[in-house]
Symmetry: C2
Subunit: 749 residues, 2 copies
């Protein structure tokens, strides 16, 4: 009888697993006796044939189904047998995940098998038992989000996406792990692999992204949910390892998650005591759970993460029961679980096991299959996620239809956030300036733009790393996003730049219509550069509002004065570095930033007042570089002066002086190099005619890189040393960032 | 009688202080009655006339002196009176510090008065009562170190240095606070102001520096102390605020300090509940003390940091009693203490009080003096630190003489560390390679250099952020620096890049002969860039060993592949970006790095094997750029190919091909742009003759900036997009970083 054979097979598997730390005595023959899971395929059949219904969906968990099938009339013994069968299949599924990872890393001869082998149980439970998602629409709005913060273990995620039925990870993709052009790169990349929410690998980023995803859910739920219709309602799950835990960014983000009370954020800490350099005893002996409690988290410890399925499930249930705190589930696992000679050592962290050890692991875990094999019963078991996912989305769509009918305006706003479609004519909200408009710091002009845009962009929200009143980032219509007021849009990040950037990445990737902005002094991009690079790589259109953008901040001195920062972002791929000079250019910078949803923007803004210049325009900014004034004819000026931001004014002044002396002088604002470089050759020639080699640039920053525009014969006026502490005007003068310097340089050409 | 007037004055002062949160009723007349401190000047006389002796020095604390003067025959009442007098003078000294800060910020109309006003009590106790230092020799080796991690409150430190008698901070310097050329810049800068140990301001850096200073002390003490002569023996004190506490870097560094059990590190957490954005309740509600306990620290809470002098002293005593853990003393203070209308608000954090509020504060604290006034009794009281400091150093020098006599070799090594003088001919230890030497990755060659150098450089120590076996940074002669083995030199930083960098800054600034190196993947400089910038600014010659320096790392993909990083450091002031191509260049890079003690070096090293090239040399690297091969004559090649690091090999190959076709081709290694730019014009012309405009550069990184060397007519081969996950060879080919690309570019010129 099928049931009884299942029991013995299940026992066999469990026995193997339990003994896997030592030498296993289970023979292949025991395991080969495993039937192809009749009971399970019939269960899968049940799922497939059930019409989607709310009640079904709520109770769809497999273990629940088992219990439902066990009618009161049946003997308790049968229930036990079925439960054992179920756990045996779970074990088999878990081993499928392990071997997909082992085999993929082996084939690539590159990668990290240790984490997937240790975390397969929690991964299985999450994707098979807990999470709500639709494999055929990885972008379904109300899905649960999963983040593998320990991104090196990406084969765990690829295996899970594959089993769950995502089209992005076919078995061929897994076989192409880490190869050119594959959808299974060496670390999870949302832009390559639908189903991957964010881009991880640099440690600590993922958990901070997860805080952003959970923040987005909480904010949207608070704004849009109604007592009779909780239209926004999902969890955010994250797996992080010892490496993530050591990174400061993780502490920053988790401190905020605790402060905000993000109860639907559930983090699994893969406590395996191994990092690349060996046992964590050599560098990481803090009490992580106690730290998280100090940060305001609920903590749980699952002591047997290798085979303690029941404990993992119970922990998730407990985590969900605590609604006002995020939960850290410390899951103690064995890295490389199942490998008889390499488990629990750093050697399994980041290298292929090697053919011999792969064989030994197959023996040890009782895995008789060829590489990349997914047993039919496992396949069949997981197959229900496609119809279930479709049903979940259909149910939600029906719920949304009811919502839309009853709450028209809210529904429209939420739809805009979900779709990323902005209201027509939104850009008309951008403020317009004339030369008569009062001189002002671009940081203040930035605030005018933010406050104008927030009226037309329902997804705009953000804040500063404890410099709101210096960065000028407060949205005056709104209060603070806080634990008790999550519908508000001013986010208070505290002095946590790195966490802030990564949280904004999470917000941006939650929904296409969410436009997070974040702010600090421009020099402190150094604290958050890793997160900003990930914005650029993962196509998160975060708006970085970076004020105090030069020596113009004055007295705070060199620790606070950016020098090399402009060029450092100009050299970074897929990010726009904008340095507006006045009101119109600031509005232009915001227009560009809002439109570039897959390319983050960095706005460098002044602390000091700047005049409104003649000739600046939003359209000019959109081109990246353009002429603001010119008294030449026939595209043949004697001289081209090029400036950005606060130095454009100086270039304009120098031009006035030189024109008084009869020179034909063009002034170009090169507000965004990246956009200018994208223009046609004709346009570029119109701005910088090749025949005109007399060119002077001025910018209160490093001169490196300016050669691209001024050519071999031009002169770059800038700053190639650290700044100084003194009133701004004095530093400008001492450093020669003046109209006089331009005039002298021009005359020398 | 003097004593009784002192008592009434003291009472008056204490009364004022206690009531200072409300409206004060103390009149100026009460305070003006304060005598000029007869009792105190006689005490100072005692100090001055005492011959330095160990016993004297151990008991030199002023409160102790008071007790010593109180002979048993005296009545207890007299003792009480004297203690009250002492506390009154302390209060007066504390108010002197407060008003120096208030007045300096007011005059500059810029700065941060709030912290100095709140932290003046702990500052006073540290510099007047606890710390051992010599004002006339700020570099005395065995001094206690003090770090103001909350660097914006630098007027606290300037006031203390001034009172203590440091020549670097005269009253005129305080009056020039934040002005051009002054020694009192807007944040503490060690390179401007002797007595300031490190450069702070960017939050969290200082506390991490302090961990480095404490590590250095512990390491040197373990190496050099003898049972009969503890020649290395000082404490490291740090004040950090809420802002520092929020920064991830602080958690990273403090986790390590706890792990290492740095018992002589004592941190004062200025718990004032205010940051720039207002009450910390809006963003920072974690339990800081509990977090530190989780990190393995001893914690103490002083609830009244404003006037609780006895509690602060007791806390320091308790902190010193715990030898195996660092201590966090949470000191609850009122920011802007004494300001009747602005205390306990963000408005006093970062702006001058304003004339009216300065007056009100003078009234409130009973301060009748003109701006910048140091009362005579306060001056007289502090004056003992000059002779005492000289005595401390003299005593230590005597102790060292005994040490040197008995432990010659150790003494010589310690002397080298103290002075920064390297043994003659140290550079002969650098390995030499020939073209026959086996091909190897520069990361491996780097390890050969480190292991060669550690034999001749007693101050070399360092490690990696959990990538020792990838970065190849282990010193084979040594074990791990750990709590139980602090004399070892392999430091295990865990995955804490930012903390690592800042800790190394602290180590470097502890003693001129300490040469810290630290390592991670080059791309993760993004995590530690703020600390690296401070290395450059504060002239800490840290050696950054950055491996996996390009797409050449292969499968890990774009999150791990640096692109814009080379140029981002080339643009940073006062840091050397070196990218050696083979063994000789790696040795050259180490020679440069070791010699540049006031300029940090970043070594970009390959993961992949590279051949030993003909023509490379240590001397070439010292020039930054040089010809490795050339078949032209008369300094007139047809073409110049320029490469760095792993691409120099490709340039050499392309040159071989082109030469076969009869071209005169020069190959230049541009291993360090900064060093090359410092060469004479003649040298530069010899390498890059102006007449030769056909130039092609190749580097697996951003092309921006290369225009400087290839000119308007040259071609730059590089990568201006993110990388990809695939085997390295494939990516090189797909991205066109090949000899074929060079040849095609050359032919197009």
């Amino acid at each position: 009888m099928a049931t009884s054979s299942s029991v013995s097979a299940a026992k066999g598997l469990v026995g193997v697993a339990v003994s896997s730390h030592g030498a296993s005595s289970a023979s292949y023959a025991d395991c080969l006796a495993l039937p192809s899971g009749l009971a399970l395929s019939s269960l899968a059949g049940l799922s497939l044939s059930s019409a989607p219904s709310s009640r079904f969906l709520q109770q769809r968990r497999w273990s629940h189904q088992l219990r439902r099938r066990a009618a009161p009339a049946r003997a308790a013994a049968v229930e036990t047998v079925e439960a054992a069968t179920a756990e045996a299949l779970v074990e088999k599924s878990v081993n499928t995940i392990r071997f997909l990872a082992i085999d993929a890393v082996e084939k690539a001869n590159s990668g990290h098998p240790g984490l997937p082998m240790g975390c397969a149980p929690m991964g299985h439970i999450l994707y098979d038992d807990v999470m709500r998602y639709n494999p055929k629409n990885p972008y379904w709005f109300n899905r649960d989000r999963f983040v593998l913060s320990a991104g090196h273990g990406c084969m765990l995620q690829y295996a899970l996406l594959h089993l769950a039925g995502y089209d992005s990870v076919k078995i061929e993709d897994i076989q192409q792990f880490r190869q050119w052009g594959s959808r299974t790169p060496g670390h999870p990349e949302n832009f390559e692999t639908p189903g991957v929410e964010v881009t991880t690998g640099p440690l600590g980023q993922g958990v901070a992204n997860a805080v952003g995803l959970a923040l987005a859910e909480r904010h949207l739920a608070a704004r849009f949910n109604k007592p009779d219709n909780e239209i926004v309602d999902h969890y955010t799950y994250v797996i992080l390892g010892d490496g993530c835990q050591m990174e400061g960014i993780a502490n920053e983000a988790c401190s905020l998650a605790g402060h905000w009370g993000l109860g639907k954020l559930i983090a699994f800490y893969d406590d395996n005591h191994i990092s690349i350099d060996g046992d964590t005893e050599i560098a990481f002996t803090e009490d992580v759970s106690a730290r998280f409690e100090a940060l305001g988290w609920h903590t749980i410890w699952v002591k047997n993460g290798n085979t303690g399925y029941t404990d993992i499930r119970a922990a998730i249930k407990d985590a969900k029961a605590i609604k006002d705190k995020p939960t850290l589930i410390k899951v103690t696992t064995t890295i490389g679980y199942g490998s008889p000679n390499k488990a629990n050592s750093y050697s399994v962290h980041g290298s292929a096991l090697g053919a011999k050890e792969v064989d030994a692991t197959r023996q040890n875990l009782g895995w008789p299959y060829e590489p990349f094999h997914v047993p039919e019963d496992v396949k069949s078991h997981w197959s229900r996620h496609v119809p279930e996912g479709a049903a979940l989305e259909a149910e939600w769509n029906a719920k949304f239809a009811v919502y839309e009918n009853k709450y028209k305006e809210d529904a429209a706003e939420l739809k805009a956030i979900i779709s990323g479609e902005f209201p027509a004519g939104w850009e008309k909200a951008l403020p317009i300036y004339t030369v008569e408009s009062p001189a002002d710091a671009t940081r203040n002009l930035s605030q005018q733009n933010l406050n104008a845009l927030v009226k037309v962009l329902p997804g705009l929200l953000g804040g500063s790393a404890d410099l709101a009143s210096s960065n000028m980032t407060l949205l005056k219509m709104f209060g603070d996003f806080q634990k008790g007021t999550p519908k508000e849009r001013n986010v208070r990040f505290g002095v946590r730049e790195h966490g802030m950037g990564a949280i904004c990445n999470g917000i941006a990737l939650h929904s296409p219509g969410l436009l997070p902005y974040c702010a600090t002094f421009f020099v402190f991009t150094d604290y958050m550069r890793a997160a900003m690079r990930i914005s650029a790589l993962c196509e998160a259109g975060v708006i970085y509002v970076m004020t105090h953008d030069s020596i113009g901040l004055g007295e705070d001195g060199p620790t606070h004065q950016p020098i090399e920062h402009l060029i450092s972002f100009r050299a970074m791929p897929n990010i726009l570095m904008l340095r507006p000079a006045d009101g119109n250019e600031t509005a232009g910078a915001y227009k560009v930033a809002v439109l570039n949803r897959k390319r983050p923007s960095v706005l460098a803004l002044s602390r000091q007042k700047l005049p409104q210049l003649a000739g600046t325009s939003i359209e000019g900014v959109e081109k990246g570089g353009y002429i603001i004034s010119d008294n030449s004819s026939g595209n043949k000026p004697d001289l081209i002066l090029i400036g950005t931001g606060s130095e454009l004014e100086i270039a304009a002044k120098a031009a006035d002086e030189l024109r008084k002396e009869g020179k034909a002088v063009r002034v170009v604002s090169l507000v965004c190099w990246e956009l200018f470089d994208e223009q046609s050759d004709e346009f570029k020639e119109k701005v910088f005619p090749a025949a005109v080699t007399a060119r002077v640039s001025i910018e209160a920053g490093a001169t490196l890189g300016w050669g691209k525009y001024i050519g071999s014969k031009g002169k770059a006026i800038g700053i190639d040393r650290f700044g100084a502490s003194a009133p701004a005007g004095r530093i400008y003068k001492e450093f020669g960032i003046t109209a006089e310097s331009i005039i002298a340089a021009a005359k020398s050409l």
